[in-house]
Every structure is written in C-alpha cells, then in structure tokens.
C-alpha cells in the first residue's frame, strides 16, 4: 500500500531569534486553544465542578431543606460508616456491579462474536438487540414489574402449566436483586453489543483467514487475533458499564423501590431518598461523595491497569 505523505510547510517564522521565534507561536496556539475550550470548561466548572465542591461543603453540615443548618464536621460521614442500612446499601450496589458487569460483558461480547460479519440478517439482530436500550427505562421496568409480581405473567404461567407458584420475585429478599439484574441485562446489553460488533468488523478478514490457514481453531483465532484488536473497545465498554452500574437507580426504583427492607436499595437511591424525600441534604451529599470516591478510585485503577492489557497498536 502506498501512502502519500503531504508535507505541510511550517508557518513562516516570525522575525527575531530562533528561541524567541517559536514561543509566540506556541503561546498564540495556547490562547486559541483556550478560546475554543472555554465553552466546555465553563460548563464543566459551572455544572460539574461547582456542584461537586458545593456538595462537599454541604456534606459537612446538618442541612435540612428548610430549617436551621448546623456545622457537623465529619459527623455525617461517621453516621454513614456506622449505619447498618448504609453499609447494606453499599453492599447491594457492589453486588449489583459484581453480578451485572461481567454478565453484561460476556453476553454482549458472546452475541457480537456469534452474530459475526458473515451472519445473515445481521442488521436486523443489531436493531432488535438495541431496541431495549432505546426504549425508556421506566416503561421497561413497568413491564418487567408486571411479569415478576405475584399473579403476574411468570407466576400465572407456572401455575397454569405446572401447577406451582413462582417465587415472589419482587417481594423476597433472596429474589429481588437477581430479578433487577436480569431486567438490567436485558435492558442494557444492546449498547455494548453494538460497540463490540463494530470493533469486530474492524478486524481484517485477511488476518483471520491466514490464521485459519495456519491451523488456528476458533478459540485460538479469538484469543490471538480478535481479542488483541478489540481490547480498546473492551476497555471502553468495561469502564463505562462499571461507572453506570455503580450509579444504578431507575431499575430498583421502579421495580422494588429498594425493598423489601433495604435489600435492593442502591447508593444513588439512598442519596435520592435522603435528599429529596427526607429533605436531609447534608447526609445525602455525604453519601454522594462516598459514591464519587468509590467510582473515582475504581476508574483510576482501571486506567492504570489498562497499560498491561489494552493494545492500541492496531
């Protein structure tokens, strides 16, 4: 393959010494860059940085929505640390992440591999699997609630065909979390499926064929040809899925409202309840910061870890 290299003439050097000549150009670039970056930087400062810091400030107070505010120092954080409900809430969130993220990735990658570039009706499958992602989460969750509830579709189906009662999925502490994970996977895997599917399309057919001629089986082709080439997509999908699953809210909110007991309550639901239902902003902000630190930590670890397994030299 012939690559045309176009040589771009360097901008004419301004008069003056060589050392002084390069710097104004750089400085000018910097200034332009600043102008172009300003809208998003201002947006970031106003709508992300400022509220985040404000929340940190609020988390140090007993801050009812109306009424007297009082400085508490770190008392909100120590309350959270010693509150059995909040500990359970953190555990629930981690449990959701541990169940949801691997299952989502395995299912979406598996399907993307199975419905490969040569599969007939591939576009149709892509559209079908993406439909749950596009439909509003609240509507999806309402439909699943009708399936899961006592006397719902699953329960009445089992009674009609086998004469047995289905478990009370949304009313039992054992079943509620698996029910939420199931609904979330159905709802969410289409997005990663599309990401992986696009990445697999980029793997050159010629390399796969030559590997096959060299005697590589299906697993070996996946392990040594496809996998290294799609690692950037896997990294992207893993990071985003992890972050969004730590922030899970809509599914438990609609399906179980965090119950029974607190068995499906997640950190974001806890923040919402404390802040907007019970009007205690201080505690809500502290819980929000706990979540922020958890997500920051895990994302940072992923970025450090990616150097070992993500391959950008394709």
């Amino acid at each position: 393959m012939v690559t045309n290299t176009t040589t771009v003439a360097p901008p004419s050097a301004p008069p003056g010494s060589v050392r002084a000549g390069r710097r104004p150009a750089l400085r000018r670039d910097g200034r332009y860059a600043g102008v172009f970056l300003a809208p998003s930087l201002i947006g970031l400062a106003l709508f992300t940085l400022f509220p985040t810091l404000m929340a940190l400030g609020i988390s140090l107070f007993d801050w009812p929505v109306f009424g007297e505010r009082a400085f508490l120092g770190l008392d909100n954080y120590s309350h959270l640390l010693h509150d059995p409900v909040f500990r359970r809430v953190v555990l629930n969130t981690v449990l959701f992440v541990v169940l949801y993220v691997p299952l989502n990735l395995v299912i979406s990658l598996g399907l993307a591999l199975w419905i490969g570039p040569k599969t007939k009706g591939r576009q149709l499958f892509r559209v079908l699997f993406f439909i749950p992602v596009m439909t509003p989460m609240v509507a999806n969750a309402m439909v699943w609630r009708l399936l899961f509830q006592p006397g719902g579709l699953i329960d009445s189906g089992l009674q009609t065909w086998f004469g047995i009662d289905a478990p009370n999925f949304l009313g039992s502490s054992t079943w509620a979390m698996p029910a939420i994970v199931t609904m979330s996977i159905w709802q969410g895997f289409g997005y990663n499926f599309l990401v992986f599917s696009a990445a697999i399309d980029q793997v050159p057919q010629s390399q796969l064929e030559s590997a096959q001629i060299d005697g590589a089986g299906v697993l070996q082709r996946f392990r040594y040809v496809i996998w290294p080439m799609i690692t950037p997509s896997i990294f992207f999908a893993t990071t985003l899925t992890l972050i969004t699953s730590f922030q899970v809210f809509a599914q438990p909110f609609i399906l179980t409202q965090g119950g029974p007991g607190v068995s499906t309550q997640t950190i974001v639901m806890y923040v919402y309840n404390q802040g907007w239902q019970f009007l205690t902003m201080g505690l809500a902000s502290a819980a929000g910061w706990v979540l922020f630190v958890i997500i920051m930590g895990i994302t940072a670890m992923q970025f450090v870890g990616q150097r070992k397994w993500v391959n950008y030299d394709v």
């Binding site: 600043g34 509830q149 309840n273 009007l279």
Partner: protein, 423 residues
Amino acid sequence: MKASPARARRWATAALSALALTAVAACGGGNDGSSGGSGSADQADLTWQFWIGGTADQAAWQKVADQAHTDHSGITVKLQGTDWNSYWAKIGTLLASGKAPCIIGMQSLRTASYASAMLPLDDLMKKYNLKAEDFDKPIMDGLKVDGKQIAIPYDSGPMVIFYNKDMFKAAGVAEPKPGWTMDDFKAAAKKLTTAGRTGLVTAPGDLSVTSWVRTQTGAEPLADGKLALTDPKFQEGFQGYSDFVHTDKIAPQVPSGNPDFETTQFTAGKAAMQLNGPWSLIDTKGKVKFKLGIAPIPAGPDGSKTYTAGSGFGISRSCKTPDAAFQAIMSMTSEKPLTTLAAAGRAYPARTAAHPTWFTAAGIDGAKETLDYASEHSVPLVTSKNWVQVADLLNRFGTQALNGEIPPDQALKTIQDQASAGS
C-alpha cells in the same frame, strides 16, 4: 499590548468566579415576579402549586382556580401542576429557597414535615370569618400542626373497606354491614379465598397499617408526638395485620415497592376486599367490571376504629400577599367548586354541604351510611415531622413482615431505630 500568561490566568480566574457567583445568585432568585405574588388584599396575581395527574385533572382544577377570580375580580390564580411523585421534592426546594408560590397543595400526612415553611391560618380564618364547623372535623384537625391550622381542606375521608359484591354473592357470604366484627371479617375472607383469589389484599402503606392496627388494638403510631411503634399494643396490632398474609393466608404475598398492587389486585377481581379511601371510590367504580360495595373497617374488641386523611391548600411563609391568598383559598374551598368536583367524582368533599352531590355521583347503595359511620369512628392520622421517612421504612420492612421474611416486631424495631436516628 499583549497579555502575559499570568495576566491571562488572572482574567480567566476572575471571569470564572464572576460566572460562578452569577450562577449562585441565579439559583437563589428564580421566579421573582410570578411566584411570590404581589399586590394587596384584593388585588394580586397568585401562583398555586399543586399535584396534577393529567390533562383532565388540569382542566378540573383550573375551574377551582378560576373560582377565586369569579369571587374577587382583582385576584387571579395561576395553576402550576406537577405529578404527585415529583411534587414533594419540588415544593421542598421552592419552600427552602424562600421563593415558593403563595398557594401550596398540602396532604394531611405530610403537613407536619412542611409546617415550618407554611403560614398558620388561624388569624386569617378569624379575620375573614371562615367557619371550621362547615368542614369535616377529622380533616380540619388533620391539617393542624401543634394546634395551628396549616391548610384548609378540600377533600377528606375515613379509610373504609371496598368490596366486590359479585364475589361475595358467588361464595354465598353475607355482605358486610356497619358493626361487623373482626371474626365476621376473617370468616368471610376465608370463604372468599379460593382458586387463585383471596378474600383481602394488603399493603404496608402507612394508612393501611395504622388503620388495621387501630381497629384491632386501639394503638396509635405516635405517643406525645414521638414515634411509638415498639409499643406492645402497636406490635400486637401489626402482628395481627401481617398474620392476614402468612398465617391466615387470606391475602396474597406483597411485592416490594409497588404502591398500586393493592388496587390492581382488587380492580382485577383477584381479591374480594381492600382498604381504601373514599377519594378513590368513584374512580374505582369506573374501572371495575363487578358491583362495588363499601363497608366500615371491621370492629375489634373496642369497636370499629379507622383513620382519616385528606388534602387542602395552605399559604407559604414567603407569600407577600397572604390576605389575597387566603381569600383565594376560601373561594377554592367554597361550596361551589367542591360541589363541581364532587359531581365530577374527583374527591370526597371536605365541606359537609357538598356531600349529597358526591353521593349522587357515586351512586353506591349504603355509601352514605357507611361513610357517616366510618367518619364518626375515625380520627385524623397525626404524623411526625419525619413521616415521609417513617412511611418509606414501613413500606420496606412492612413488606418483609407481611411476607413472613422477618418477625413483625423486628420490622417495627428497625423502623423505630432508623427513623429515630435520622430525626
């Protein structure tokens, strides 16, 4: 002149700080003109924040708002609607910002939580001669906090049993009448529980739980204004309520966090009875395919005892024209709009004079007899300041108790501990 990088940085910092300050100021100061209300006692443009379910709802309540203008040509009331679920978060922030609308929709169970941001209405009631005795007493009392009137009610109602007449007939069970006892109720419910159907459907909602507890043992959720769920009498009543599901098996297991479950089971004809308020009666009658009846809650050892809840309109403390707002509320809760609402079947009116119209609209035999009886045997459900949290906890741990996952006493203790820690 060229700016040095240091100077540019200073400029950028200054600009960002200015922007941030503007944003903070903007957060504090929205809605100036319309929401606070301006003008005099007879001349004002007021805003009314209320929960609205849809366009039909909007049209019905707009008529109520218009009544103020009809009665006082200088006063206009602009209706701002939000759905029930977002409503409370929204007025919480509005009241906190000190820029809340003048007129606020208030539900009796939540009055205690919001009372500190609301204007007590007792002086205005005297000044404009609004007579408390024209309204149902339990709901007037239900909208009081520390003896002060916080809102004027438009609807009210004691919790009563809705029942499916067709199911009673098919099972050969006599229909319930005022004065029926817990034993009558259980015997009927057992007979009605057959082939995938149940005699009753329960839910761990605050009004259901407290009403069933009160009729069985007379226990109240608060003692001297403090939550008292671990009181032995309350525990006994709650044990009895959860037994309906997992011991007597006259009610199905409950799913978590589905506030509509009770109503959907009943309207679908899967349960013969449910506890509900008269505000849902006409709506339920329109939905069901069977004959609907109502009866008082069955009597425990000390007779039939139930709770009343309802809603009304109050004035925010930040309102600049409380006199005009109060006159508007007087018009909005006067006989005419309440009769119109009653005729449309929307709410069981808080004004006794509008009751006959509502009973005609309902068209259910014995409804008047039952509601009069239930009203006599009811008290307002007085709540604590953190009731929203109590109700949330009751839903969570009540579900586990009803389904037999945890002992009812343990559920009540957890609710009591959690609610006390947060307040």
